[in-house]
Symmetry: C2
Subunit: 118 residues, 2 copies
DNA sequence: ATAATATATGAACAGTTATTCATATCTTGA
DNA sequence: TCAAGATATGAATAACTGTTCATATATTAT
């Protein structure tokens, strides 16, 4: 360990250690991002961006089997990304709140101007 | 399929299908988010937010073995989240661009005001 | 050239996760 | 109460992913 940037790097590393969030906070954030980092789930969220929908229509919008979609809905619900409301025979899903919408906006930006910028 | 929201839901589903991005775009965005959805990688990115660093200092800042960190650096590099520059014996890593920084800002917001808002 | 240091990488293993299939639960209309 | 429709769920499997260990590559100083 003796790069010629020793001082700057060491300082940055010190700041990094000092400002590094708790393991638990890190894990929470990661969980949130993991929820939208799987195609099947991101599709569901992007679909719900167009308005609330019951499961049947979600399946119609994103494809796949009813079971698979239902499993992913469960995960999204556990992560508080979506909320469910029963309405008769159906269960209507919607994005949980503005936070999620912001996340999706960020995702959408990256759709247009992806990270792979070269 | 005959919820009493038939029309609204059907419309939303239609819009969702119409606006659903290509599989490939979805995959790209997911890859970007997946990169920051693992604690080991998020920590590295948060560390680099404090300034560029060589591997040794990254290891110092985030913990874990040199090998594990190196593997994760590879993944982050493949996803263009970070860029590397050799400097003598060392390789100095830095966040790839402003986009990544924005993503991390978003992540940071969720650190303070997590999705689990209830 | 060789030793020492810094970083990268391949193989193997363990843990995680998405999907499928079958079935269960819940709600409504008859 | 029963049948039908809508949604959820448990178990099993296959694919994926992070870490470790050992080793390879690259750079510098001697």
């Amino acid at each position: 360990m003796d790069c010629n940037h020793e001082n700057e790097h060491h300082l940055a590393a010190e700041r990094a250690k000092a400002t590094m969030p708790q393991e638990e906070s890190i894990a929470q954030v990661c969980a949130a991002f993991k929820a939208i980092s799987e195609p099947s789930r991101l599709k569901i969220l992007l679909a719900l961006r167009q308005g609330e929908m019951c499961v049947y229509h979600i399946v119609e919008a994103v494809g796949g089997t009813q079971s698979a979609v239902s499993h992913q809905l469960r995960i999204l619900r556990d992560n508080r990304m979506i909320r469910a409301r029963r309405d008769g025979q159906n269960v209507v899903y919607a994005l949980a709140d503005g936070h999620v919408r912001e996340l999706l906006d960020t995702a959408n930006e990256h759709l247009r101007c992806p990270i792979v910028t070269e």
